[in-house]
């Protein structure tokens, strides 16, 4: 019981942080005429959740982040929402799969893959939305923009996990 409550509270905090990141990175101007295109910095929270709590909770946090984030920035149910949703779903999926089935990647690799998945997913959605494949020309830009984002979030998480080994602050929240 106590564990569940703590878990819920922590999840709620994670959702809040992810939403804040989502909104904040929406204010960074990306030089593309597609609404809602983002770097994917909010992935750091998704990845952390996946690591600590597993697939189901990770997905929940990601979805809630998209809903709340778009509500706050006034893009709920707009094309930007669709893009954010597909981005979040694709990146969460990739990261979850990598975390579960591979051992060779550290957080850096997973988050890089997540960032790439996020951006590719967004572009595919934009393609469908705008009914034009010319959107794919932005793939190089987005991929390149996603790499530093993925790198940094991965390194940050790596660092956090290493720190955790020493101090054990996250252990209370881990599943097993």
């Amino acid at each position: 019981m106590r564990n569940d409550t703590r878990r819920m509270v922590f999840l709620a905090l994670l959702v809040a942080m992810a939403t804040a990141l989502h909104v904040a990175e929406g204010m960074l101007l990306v030089p593309l005429p597609i609404p809602g295109v983002k770097l994917g910095l909010a992935n750091i929270i998704t990845l952390l959740t996946l690591h600590l709590f597993g697939f189901k909770d990770g997905f929940t946090v990601a979805l809630m982040r998209v809903v709340l984030g778009t509500l706050v920035s006034g893009m709920f149910l707009s094309p930007g929402f669709m893009l954010a949703l597909t981005g979040a779903v694709s990146s969460t999926l990739i990261m979850a799969l990598l975390l579960k089935y591979t051992r060779c990647f550290s957080m850096v690799g997973v988050s890089l893959a997540g960032a790439a998945g996020h951006n590719i997913g967004q572009l595919l959605a934009a393609c469908l939305l705008l009914q034009s494949s010319s959107v794919m020309y932005y793939l190089p830009v987005l991929l390149m923009a996603g790499i530093p984002a993925g790198l940094i979030t991965g390194l940050l998480l790596n660092s956090l996990l290493e720190h955790n080994i020493k101090s054990g602050i996250l252990n209370d929240f881990k599943r097993t």
Binding site: C104, F105, G109, L112, A116, L139, N158
Partner: protein, 126 residues
């Protein structure tokens, strides 16, 4: 960073660079806003107005329909039917539209507001 991480990183960098090369000259960073939209207002089958939605500020104007005047309002890139003499008021209740392809229709008044794609011109000399 593990070895696999580094390979992945290198791989991603390679793919982006390759796609830059493939995209070639189309790889253009566009700055600024997206294309400005235009709204077309039709009344009783004829085009009454064509207006840029990207003009700043709030503006409104009257359009004559079947049984009287309706007021159309534009603000911040959106357009709506502010009031109309029809009994159902469906067009008014619809509220704002702002995306290409969206329409507001008032059937009793035979009026149509439709948002069209990118404006063909930046200004008109007259």
């Amino acid at each position: 960073m593990t070895r696999a991480d580094k390979i992945l990183l290198a791989g991603l960098l390679l793919v982006s660079l390759l796609s830059v090369a493939a995209a070639g000259s189309r790889f253009f960073l566009l700055s600024g806003k997206s294309e400005p939209l235009q709204a077309v207002i039709m009344s009783q089958g004829k085009q009454v107005r064509r207006i840029n939605l990207s003009a700043g500020g709030r503006s409104s104007f009257a359009v004559q329909g079947r049984s009287g005047y309706s007021t159309v309002e534009i603000e911040g890139g959106r357009i709506r039917m502010l009031n109309a003499p029809c009994s159902g008021q469906i067009c008014v209740k619809q509220g704002w539209i702002e995306h290409s392809g969206q329409t507001i229709v008032c059937i009793p008044e035979e009026m149509l507001i439709r948002i069209e794609g990118a404006a063909p011109v930046d200004a008109v000399t007259r």
